[in-house]
Amino acid sequence: MIVNRPAEAQSALMFRLALRRYAIPLRRTSGVQDLGALRRIPNSPRRWLGLTEWSGRVLNVIDLPHLLGDRAVERAKSIVRLREPHSGMALYVPAHLGLTELTTPVPVVADEPYVALGSGPDALHWIHLDGLVAECARAVV
């Protein structure tokens, strides 16, 4: 079912993986930095990369390309820390990050991790961050 509603935020964090361009609402993030030391957890799900440290706090690092079914093409190893209610989680984004502004409403498609804004190879795909992170959090728990 498709429901049209206004965009959650005008500013977005944008990046490109191998297949598509993606965008995350900027107001749902609390910061970006390079991935430091990563502690991997044995027998953990593939989408959960492990644990890292951010300003004295431990964060769960989620493999975003794996969740999106895409793959990285750059050597960049950035993580995006999420804001409440997922402040203990960070998304691993192996791509160059950029900023953009959205003026069109974003459609929400149930049970889909993202929705395409536009068409063609340069179409921007808006990530439904709550559902994606919640599912990932359940898997981590």
Partner: protein, 412 residues
Amino acid sequence: MQTKLGAGFLLVALLYVGVGLAVPRFGFEPIPEIILAVSSYLVIGLSAAWWFSFRITRRMRELAAAAAEIRNGDLTRTVDTSGNDEVADVASAFAVMADSLMHVVHEVQRAAAEIHDSAQSLAQSSDEMDGMASEIAGAAQEIARGAESQANELSRTDKRAHELAGIASDVAAGAHNVNQAAAEAARRAHDGSSDAKRAADGILELTAQNVEASKSMDGFREKASEIGALINSVRSISHQTNLLAINAAIEAARAGEEGRGFAVVAEEVSRLSDTVRGFAERISGISEEITDGSARIGQQFRLSTQAAESVGKRVNRTLESFDGIITETCTTAERAAEIHELTAIQNNAVNDVLESLKQISSIVVANAHGTEETSGTTKNQRESMREMAHSARELAVASDQLRELVSIFRVV
């Protein structure tokens, strides 16, 4: 004989007288007296006639018997030649005749035997001579065929000798050409050796220049690598600047309307960071191309140096080969000169052989003609031998017949 006949007639006459005187003394009647006288006369006359005839014909019969025996071939029969009358003379003449005849027959027999033996020997010799003549004729034919074959062989040999002479001339000409070519090759080998020496010097110089260029290219590549390291620093700075701008934008978004101006600045900084990043990527690409190109050029210089060294070694080997070629071509020229001289000698020898072959050919032809004449003569001789053998056989037959004829005479 006349004396004996006279004595006999005298005795008969005396007997007649005695009978005429005795008969009348018996006193017989006239008639019986006459009859007695006549009878006595008859008896005396007949007896005297028988006795004379007996004495005369007895030896004649003996001669006749002897002649008959001689006629039958018994020449050994002897006759009584005693006496001095005509019969004795006849007997003596008969004995002489028989003896002469026996001698003749004996000689004839001996001569016939000798003739027979000679005829046999002659026939045998004729047969043997005929056989020998046949063998001589066969041999003469073989010689004639051999002479023909020799003539053919000599003709072929002469042809081959001419060909050999032509080949020897060609070889001499070829050897002369080889001599000249070897001299030309030696001269060119000298030129090639000089060029190769110059090429070796040039290659050494090129190798040295390549080594220097390779060193310069290594330095250039190191500088390009330093540029790449600086580009990495610029890329890192751009990345950190971009993260800083994004974090600033996040903080501006959290601040709401108060942070909008700050968000604009953060966005500009992020865009500037992207621009720097783009330039860094372009410079990095160019630096990588320069590094790769300098590496390829350096590698090409090294390969060129290695190739130049390899070429230098080959040129050195070429120089050695040229030295060997010069030596070998000089040797070849000498050998070609020797071959030329030897072929000239060989040509003279072949000409001598040709002359000898010509003489031999004439001799063989003469031998062939002689052999043909010998063959004809032998053929005629064979005919003569056959005729002689035939005559000898006929003579043997005739001698046999003569021996058979005279064999009826027994001489011993």
